[in-house]
């Protein structure tokens, strides 16, 4: 049932990309996304696609997993394409009453869809190769400078990692409660919308109770182990840059340099 839903999930493969410091991957993803928006030439997209293809190859994550992420934005892609196709002004190549397709429209629509595909695949590469814990760790350390302006970076990171940790737990709990109520003859699949919504009450009430119980237990357990916020807290595995991370930054810099050069020169 619910177990089949995938959400920002990690794919263990132990590749070079997996081993990179999460800060490298976070910054890399952000820069990659920016590069998709700043450099608008077709050659740039070609380069960006090649770069991503290389990274995916290195990550050893099956391409089917990447494509699965695309399915979620399929409708968004279609709508974007249609709007750009019909609403971009320019040289008309096809017209039916008030609907017209322009040469520029075709160009923009195609580039937009490519940009969206690269964007989603680029960010799924990060979530597929980084555990949620590493990701929040990386964020905490990478954004540590914000503490100086009194942004509660540690608290935000802690809340994020707890929230991420609770997703699979609560999904499993939902699955269990749904099964338990099915065993009592509950029916979640038939009936109209109102009946279906009503049939969820026997699931939601126990689920909320269990979420509060778990939150309570976790808070107790954290206090019992002396948790008192981020002040003076050390890590078992502090994030440190290794040779591989420096190389990765270098590769990233090269990528950006080439993108800029292509944009300016060609």
């Amino acid at each position: 049932m619910l177990r089949d839903i995938t959400l920002g999930q990690y794919y263990p493969a132990g590749s070079v990309i997996h081993k990179l410091d999460p800060r490298v991957k976070l910054l890399g993803t952000v820069l990659y996304i920016i590069s998709l928006f700043v450099f608008g030439k077709p050659v740039n997209y070609l380069l960006a696609a090649l770069f991503l293809a290389l990274l995916i190859k290195l990550s050893k994550v099956p391409v089917s997993f990447m494509v699965r992420g695309l399915r979620a934005i399929f409708i968004l892609m279609i709508i974007t394409a249609i709007f750009n196709l019909f609403l971009t002004p320019g040289r008309v190549i096809w017209q039916l009453w008030k609907l017209k397709i322009t040469e520029e429209g075709v160009r923009v629509a195609v580039l937009m869809v490519i940009r969206l595909i690269l964007l989603v695949m680029g960010s799924s590469l990060m979530t597929l190769t980084t555990t949620p814990n590493d990701l929040t760790d990386g964020m905490e350390k990478g954004l540590g400078f914000l503490k100086k302006v009194h942004v509660p970076v540690h608290e935000i990171a802690m809340m994020m990692s707890i929230a991420l940790r609770f997703i699979p737990i609560l999904m499993e709990e939902t699955d269990k409660i749904m099964k338990a109520q099915s065993a009592r003859g509950a029916d979640f699949d038939t009936g109209n919308l109102i009946q279906k919504a009503k049939s969820l009450v026997p699931v939601l009430v126990p689920l909320f109770i269990s979420a509060f119980r778990r939150a309570n237990d976790l808070a107790m357990a954290m206090e019992a182990r002396g948790y008192h916020g981020g002040e003076g807290r050390t890590k078992m595995r502090p994030l440190e840059y290794y040779g591989i991370d420096h190389t990765a930054y270098l590769v990233l810099a090269c990528y950006l340099a080439v993108m800029i050069a292509v944009r300016v020169l060609l």
Partner: protein
């Protein structure tokens, strides 16, 4: 014959990096009126297996027959199956959701299409069976004690009048008194109502006193199947599966080993007392 399982296999998350075979070629027959215990270490597949018995999980391959009819048949009604095979999950009190105990127990019968009056009659009957006093009927389930909540939840299944009652670790997290209450309740249901019982547990002590047949699972397969005496005679094999024989069996085995004239494979304290008195 109530339930027959043939070559049942089940694979979790097939086709991904997390693929795991939870059940491997399970063959099992459960007769009407049996009191069977299903035992295994955590992760041995026992909870997965029982969820197949009322159709909550569908086997990757293999078939299950209920009263000689395949439950995977085209027009087989799962709802009907669930009315006959009642499954009480682990920590069943976590599924209580109504504002009072009686209404919560009515949930099952109502889902079967009974009128409110009929459902209430069944619910009252079930609550009587689990020996919950009338004074609790209109209390919120969350105000009850742990043992009472659990009995109310079991009543929720009983109110559907199942022919087969499956209980997954019904004594988990209860104190010794609560544990005895639940197990005695299950026994009286079996004896007085003639309900077929499948009790899932990892405690040998619990099942030795109650079940007439024990099935042991390890790593998704059935490794032992027989009466408590037969099963407990395979002490080494049980220990390898991460289980132990009951304390009393161990003591009597050790006594026999030391040369005392007592029988091996004793499963209950009563038998042990008899044997020791005879030896003295």
């Amino acid at each position: 014959m109530a339930i027959r399982i043939e070559h049942l296999e089940y694979v979790y998350s097939a086709g991904t990096a997390f693929e795991r075979k939870a059940l491997k070629d399970i063959n099992l027959e459960i007769q009407d009126g049996e009191f069977m215990a299903l035992i295994g270490h955590t992760g041995s597949g026992k909870s997965t297996l029982i969820q197949h018995l009322n159709g909550l999980l569908k086997g990757t391959s293999g078939t299950i027959y209920y009263n000689d009819e395949s439950i995977y048949g085209q027009n087989y009604s799962m709802k009907n199956l669930r009315r006959h095979v009642g499954l009480v999950f682990q920590y069943p009190e976590h599924q209580l959701f109504e504002t009072d105990v009686l209404t919560d127990v009515c949930f099952g019968p109502k889902n079967l299409g009974m009128s409110p009056e009929e459902a209430q009659r069944e619910a009252e009957w079930a609550l009587e069976q689990v020996k919950l006093d009338k004074s609790f009927y209109h209390q919120a389930p969350f105000d009850l004690s742990g043992g009472q909540k659990r009995r109310a939840a079991i009543a929720g299944i009983l109110a559907m009048h199942p022919d087969v009652l499956i209980l997954d670790e019904p004594t988990a997290g209860l104190d010794p008194r609560g544990r005895d209450e639940i197990l005695n309740l299950v026994r009286s249901l079996h004896e007085q109502q003639g309900i077929t019982v499948i009790l899932v547990s990892h405690s040998m002590e619990d099942v030795a006193n109650y079940a007439s047949r024990i099935v042991v699972m390890d790593h998704g397969s059935i490794i032992l199947d027989g009466t408590p005496g037969e099963v407990f005679s395979h002490r080494a094999q049980l220990e390898q599966a991460g289980l132990s024989v009951p304390q009393v069996t161990r003591v009597m085995d050790d006594l026999a080993q030391e040369g005392w004239p007592v029988e091996k494979n004793i499963t209950t304290i009563g038998e042990a007392v008899e044997q020791i008195l005879k030896a003295l």
